[in-house]
Symmetry: C2
Amino acid sequence: MTVSEQYFPQEPTAPKVVTSTIPGPESQRKIKELGQVFDERHAYFVADYTKSTGNYIVDVDGNVLLDVYAQIASIPLGYNNPALREVAKSDRMIRAIIDRPAQGNFPGADLAEIAGDVLKAAPKGQKFLWSGLCGADANELAFKAAFMYYQSQKRGYNAEFSKDEQTSVMANEAPGAPELAILSFENAFHGRLFASASVTRSKPIHKLDLPAFKWPKAQFPAYQYPLGDHEDANKKEDARCLAIVEDIFQNWHAPIAGVIIEPIQSEGGDNHASASFFQGLRDITLKYKSLLIIDEVQTGVGATGAFWGHEKFNLSPAADIVTFSKKFQSAGYFYNNPQITPNQPYRQFNTWCGDPARMILAGAIAKEIVKNDLVRKTSDVGDYLYAELAKLAAKYPKDMQNLRGEKCATFIAWTLESGAKRNQFLADMKMAGVNIGGCAEASVRLRPTLTFEEKHADILVKAIDAVLSKK
Amino acid sequence: MTVSEQYFPQEPTAPKVVTSTIPGPESQRKIKELGQVFDERHAYFVADYTKSTGNYIVDVDGNVLLDVYAQIASIPLGYNNPALREVAKSDRMIRAIIDRPAQGNFPGADLAEIAGDVLKAAPKGQKFLWSGLCGADANELAFKAAFMYYQSQKRGYNAEFSKDEQTSVMANEAPGAPELAILSFENAFHGRLFASASVTRSKPIHKLDLPAFKWPKAQFPAYQYPLGDHEDANKKEDARCLAIVEDIFQNWHAPIAGVIIEPIQSEGGDNHASASFFQGLRDITLKYKSLLIIDEVQTGVGATGAFWGHEKFNLSPAADIVTFSKKFQSAGYFYNNPQITPNQPYRQFNTWCGDPARMILAGAIAKEIVKNDLVRKTSDVGDYLYAELAKLAAKYPKDMQNLRGEKCATFIAWTLESGAKRNQFLADMKMAGVNIGGCAEASVRLRPTLTFEEKHADILVKAIDAVLSKK
C-alpha cells in the first residue's frame, strides 16, 4: 500500500466534474452570500472541506478535483489527513486553542517540547527558533533581527543605547531609527505588509499605493534552458548578477543589513538559480557582514526534493536566518548565531509570540514526513512526473515553454504564450478535473501535497494532454 | 450561581503560593530548558495550563495565582472555559486546524457563517470584515486599506493605474509607492512590525534599530485628575491637542491618509481622553478626507464597559476602520464604506487571509459574552472594584497615584513613584498570589477576564492592601 492509500482509504480514484462551469451554481450562490461580509472576488469556487480527502478537493456543487495547487502550496499531507486529525483532537491542541498563552511571558510547560519538535526539522546548522504567524510576519521578524544584529555589531553586542538613539527613535529619526536596507531580487515575493512589500518585486498589484522603504533590488539569474546545453552562458549570468549585488553593497546610500532570497523564486515564476550563485551570494554577505536570509515560505517542507529548498546548495557557512510558513502551518524563523537573539529582552517580542496550536501541528507534520520518508518519495514522484511532462512539452512546445523543476521533486513549472492563454489553461484544467495554479505573468506552477503519487501524476498528465490537444 | 461558578465549578477559592520565589525552582528549571531553543528571557514563570481554571493561573511549581493580567489582556472568558472547550472539540474546528484554506481563493462552505458570527459583534455601523492574524497585522492591513483608499479618492475609485505608477512602484518610488503618512499619538502602542512600529510611540525599546517611516505624531491629552474637578483645564487640553493634529494635517510634508488611535492608550499608561476629543478628531479626519482608524486590540471585547471601547464616544459618523485582536483571539478589521474594499482583487490579499480556527473561536466568544451579559456584568464589577481601589488610593496616595478607569469596567490603572517601585510591587503581588501587569514607566494595569467577579475583586484588593501596607 502506498502512503496515500494508507492515509486515505476513501480517496477518489479520479476527478469528477458535474457542473458546466466552475464555479458551479451552488458555489456562485455561496460566493455571492460571502460577499455580504468578506471580499469574495478572489474565490475560484467554494470548497466543501468535509468531503475533501487526500489529493482531492471537493466543491459545494459536488465537483471532485485533483488538487495540485493545495491552498497556494500550503497543504502538506493532503486533506483530512488522519494523523493530523488525531493531533487536532488531542487535549494538548484543545488547550492551545482555548488557553492561548502569551508565550514569551507565560510559556506553557510543554513549549520547550513543542518548539523542540519544530526545531528538529530545522535546516542543517540552525539551532534556534523564533515564532510568528504567517510568511510576511516571519520575514519581517527576520528583518527586525537583521537590523538589530547589524547595529549591535557596530555598537558592541552588550553596549548601551545612546541617549541620542533613544530620543531620535521616538521621532522615527536616525540614529535610533537608522537608515538601513534589506536587499532583494527582481521578481522576488516575500509578502505584502510594508517592509515585506518593500522587498517584494513580483507585480505592481502586490504593492501599488503603499509607501515603501527605499531598498535596493538586484537581478536574479535568468538562465537559458535546458541548463545542460548552456553551462557557459549561465555561469556568466551568475557572475553578472553577483556583480550587481556587490555593486549595490558598495554604492547603495544606506548599509545593507541583510539579503533576502528564495531558493526558487516562486510567485515570481519558478525561477531557479545555481548552487554556485547562492554560494557566491553567501560569500558577498560574509564580506560585507550582512545577514543572508533564506525565505523558505513556499519552497520549504519537502516540496523541492529536500526538506528545505536551499539545503541542496550546501552553503558554507550555513545561512544566517531561514524563514518558513505555508506547508509548516506555523511560521517563523530559524537561526544559529546566538547574537542574532537581540541583546535585551522585549526587543523581538509581541503578545502571542506565535501560536502554539499551529506549532503543535508543524511538529506533527515534520514527524509524519520523516516517518513516511515523504521527502524522498515526493522527489521520486517528481522525477517521474517531470519525465512525463517533458514528453508533453515536446508535443506542445508553445504551450509548455521553458519546463523547469527537473530534480526538484514536484516543484515544477512551465510558461505559456501569454497571460490570457495561461488563464484559459487554468480554467480549462478545472473543467478537466484538476485544480492548478499560476505564477508570474504566463506560467503554471505545480504545488501538490507530499502525498501526491504516480497515480495522481498520471491523471494530471492525461488532463494536461487532453486540454492542450483541444486548443 | 454566578457565571464564573457556572463555567468553573472547580475554580480555586483563593490563591496559594507554595514557593519562596516566583519563578519557583521547577519554573526556573523549565525556563532554562526552554532557553535551549527559544528566547526565554521574558518568562515570568512557566504555566501549567492543564491545571489553570477560570481566573486562576497555575504554574509548574503548584503556585495558584489570581490572574488579573490574563496573557497581556488576551484571555476573554477564563482558563479552560468549558463552552470554548466544546467549540475546540467540534468537527468544524478540527477541520479548520487540519484543512486550513487559502480563504480568499478557496473559501470553505461555512466561511460566510464564520465571518458573519464575528461581524455580529462588530461596533455599531461597521458592516464588513477583513481577517488577519495578530494586532500588528490587523493595524498594518488597515493602513494598507487606508493608503489604497486615499489614492483611489484622488485617482477615482475605478480609474486605471498609470504606467508611471506601475513602473515606479517596482522601484519603491513615487508615484506608485507614494509618500503618504499615518498620524499617531505620543505614547501610542500599535504593534512592532515596521509600519506598526512607525506609529508606536511608547518606549524606545519597542523600536530601536528599526528603520522607520517618517510619519508624524501628535499629542494625546494629558488630563488632570479627578476629572470632575478639572473640567475647564481638561477641555483646554483637548483643544490644544486637536490644534496640534490640525497643524500636522496642514503642514506635514506628506498627506495624512489615516489617523490611528486607541480608545484608551493601554501599553502607554492607560491614558484616557474625552468623547469630545475623539469627536473633534473625527471631525478633523472628515475635513481632510483622512480615515479614522480605531485600534481596539487591547480595549475591545468587553473590557471597558462597552463591547468596543470607542462605542462610548458615540462618534458621528462612525469610525472608518476598527481593528481588533487579543481577547477576540482572531485579528483583523471592521469597516463600513464599501470603497474601503480596494477597487481590484489581489490588492488586499495573502495566502491565508486569516485563520478560520481563530475566527470560529472569536464567534463563539462573542456569543458567550452576549448570552451571559458579560459586558454589563464586567462593568458592574469594575464599578465595585474601582470604589474599593479608590479607598486604597486614599490610604496609599504615593503608591496609587492617578487612579484611572472609573466607569471603564475593570480597565483600571494607577501609577507608582518610580519604575523600580512598580516592578517591585508587581513581584510582591505575585508572592501575594496575584499575577498582575504593568504599563508605561511606572504604572500598573488591571486586565482580568470577563469572568472576574466581586469575589475575585475582594481578593485582589486585599492583596494590594497587604503588599502596600508592608512597604
